[in-house]
């Protein structure tokens, strides 16, 4: 492969609310069996990128556990491999990562010691499938210095959370606004970039000299008129999960036939760590409709329009509606849950009632599991 990969997985945002207390966004469970970072990692593997660095910082325990072996994404090769970069204190640096550019700067040796001509940088909170080779082809064909991936959004309010780009007819980026209140275009930058390795090293070193730390603000926007930055439109499904609402909506998207078939049954596959769980079990009284169910789950009650992650237990006579139940949640008999996201490892006592009014409600319950 002509590129190495960097996955930016260190971030956190207040928009994830309580969900980020437990883990980094990159480690958020998605679509029943996966973690958010599986999508970027699988895309790298499926694009035949064999050397990938994952930059972690915020609350990375759960993420590191997920990445404890690289074999699930087939990165356990003699050449290349999966490299995890957590901030470390060195003789000339004692800072945390102060921004995306700084996080790359602090691991510049990874770039310098590689020999592949290009670098693909991807954020870990995007849910999509992509052959990065197509992006690379586009990049070379346009003769661009930096290429970024952009996707059309349908809700204009979403621009408040994204970098918004405007392209000319030549697909060159002519305007880039960071999280505007109202945007001039409907194209968001997906946080996926390709750039020549040597150019990246040069720009990152310059940034560091000037005490600038952010890749978007201090490189993309600052160099927009000097360097040729082009935008590659992704036409297939792309979604970002970095807010409670988006997280909820993205998971619910998988109840749609087209989205499910695209991710689950079309080539190539998305890979994830294998948990060796038994098949899901439906006992007498189970009534499951329009829902995704992951393995290891046992259902005795009613589930509608919901996503049940791994090892969930649903007691008798429960009703779960339009909700997301994360891994290893125990739900006692007769509970009612509607429009909620139930945090992993939680225990919902029998006969309890939870309902999200308007926006989905995040439920964190740490009751004793086995009360007799």
């Amino acid at each position: 492969m002509r590129a190495i990969g960097i996955i930016l997985a260190g971030g956190n945002t207040y928009r994830m609310k309580e969900l980020s207390q437990k883990r980094a966004i990159a480690a958020m469970p998605v679509a029943g069996n996966y973690r958010a970072i599986d999508f970027a990692l699988s895309n790298m593997a499926n694009s035949r990128i064999t050397k990938v660095g994952v930059i972690t910082q915020y609350n990375a325990g759960s993420l590191h556990e997920h990445l404890s072996s690289s074999k699930w994404w087939d990165f356990g090769r003699k050449q290349g491999g999966l490299h995890i970069f957590t901030p470390t204190v060195t003789s000339d640096n004692s800072f945390w990562y102060r921004g995306t550019a700084d996080s790359i700067y602090q691991n510049l040796a990874f770039l310098k010691e590689s020999h592949e001509p290009y670098v693909v940088i991807a954020s870990a909170d995007g849910i999509y499938k992509m052959d990065y080779n197509e992006l690379l082809e586009f990049h070379m064909e346009k003769g661009a210095d930096i290429s970024l991936v952009c996707s059309e959004i349908h809700d204009p309010k979403d621009c408040e959370r994204f970098g918004m780009v405007k392209l000319n007819d030549e697909m060159q980026v002519v305007d880039f606004e960071e999280k505007p209140i109202a945007a001039k275009s409907n194209l968001v930058s997906c946080g996926i970039y390709v750039i020549r390795r040597r150019l990246l090293i040069e720009l990152i070193e310059k940034c560091a000299e000037e005490e600038r730390f952010d890749f978007v603000r201090d490189i993309l926007i600052r160099y927009m008129n000097v360097k040729k930055i082009c935008g590659y439109k992704i036409k297939t499904y792309w979604s970002n999960i970095a807010s409670v609402d988006d997280y909820y909506r993205t998971n619910m998207d998988f109840l749609r036939n087209d989205v499910r078939d695209y991710f689950f049954r079309e080539y190539p596959d998305i890979y994830t760590k294998v948990d060796d769980l038994p098949p899901a079990k439906y006992n007498v009284g189970s009534n499951v409709r329009n829902s995704l169910v992951a393995s290891g789950t046992i259902i005795n009650g009613t589930v509608e329009g919901s996503v049940l992650f791994k090892k969930v237990f649903v007691g008798s006579n429960c009703t779960i509606r339009n909700s997301i139940i994360l891994n290893d949640v125990y739900i006692g008999d007769n509970a009612y849950i509607e429009n909620c996201i139930v945090e992993s490892g939680g225990t919902i006592l029998a006969n309890s009632y939870y309902k999200g009014e308007g926006a989905p409600k995040v439920v964190i319950e740490k009751s004793d599991r086995y009360v007799f």
Binding site: R260, F264, T272, Y282, G296
Partner: protein
Amino acid sequence: MIKKEMIAMLLAGGQGSRLGVLTSKVAKPAVSFGGKYRIIDFPLSNCINSGVDTVGVLTQYRPLRLNTHIGIGIPWDLDRNIGGVTVLPPYEKSSNSEWYTGTANAIYQNIEYMETFNPDYVLILSGDHIYKMDYEVMLDYHKSNNADVTIAAMPVPIEEAKRFGILITDENRQVTAFEEKPENPRSNLASMGIYIFNWKSLRRSLIEMAEQSNLDFGKHIIPYLFDKGAKCYAYEFNSYWKDVGTLNSYWEANMELIDIVPDFNLYEEYWKIYTHSETLPPQYISEDGVVERSIVGEGSYIYGKVYNSVIGCNITIGKDTIIKDSIIMNNTGIGDGCDITKAIIAEDVVIGNNVILGTGDEVPNETEPSIYTNGLVTIGEDTIVPDGVSIGKNSVVSGNLTGKDFENNALGSGKTLIKAGDEL
């Protein structure tokens, strides 16, 4: 120096002809079981859970599926620098090359493999039983008795004892006599085909008995050692153990998994069963779907109604289809409007729309009445069943079928329809 205290040799070469068409293309240990597993997963998982990290798997009959399933042993954590899992097929020698002619003959032909690990003990397993057993506990028992051979045995109802190899023991569980399928059993302790041997005794007896044709553990090696005065002990095992050698016992063992608290519980944390899964996504139950008293594997889409069934991975079950008391193995698609009762459907099968399986009266099967019994409909691997066909009980169907293969779109009970494909 390489040294393993105990290594396991897993006999996985048999066809298992009593599973009928299910084993026409794969060896019995590679047959799917319990939604996402294959039969061999159970002894392999027992090995790693017992701390046995060196396993030789002896293959012979149709080994392709078995080989791809086992690979380098990653799912069972048997990818080791030293030891791990090794697939051992029969091989050509400069003279006297032969297939594996018996259970012990297969082990005899792999003495070289076993010697590389300098074992003190060798555990002999067969690849066709469903159970959870800690072989380490059995080894401790073997050591504490100073035994030469320990045979795992379980009590069976005395009226069934005549189907098994029976062990007669003294009060310390030392074996005093063996009876192979006795008419009038003197004990109800049945051998499970699981043995721990002292390596030196095993090696000596294999070499001394090498000329015996169809060299077998139960028939030759154990009696030989016993006659030479070796100390044989019975290790009594009282948990769930199921030989899934016949279609009916295979069907029953699957159905037992869907009980509320099954005798054989896959949901226990401390003794996990591992398998190689090709399919990872979650399953989807549609707006009109119903699933009750069933287990369902990864990546399956259910648009119809499923009761009392074991559904594998990557299955699609169409709208208005009703499935009852059935087993459906991986990668099978079932059309809309079907009615399926008591069927065993193997892997990679395509069932058209409005197909009825398991209809009509119970009539004994015309070709293999002892295999296809109990009202089951058995569909072989890679079979295509065309739209609108109905198939009776105790029947078996296999091959790329079209409407022309059926009279009036029907196949009566007790019929066999096996259309040979292009055999390579």
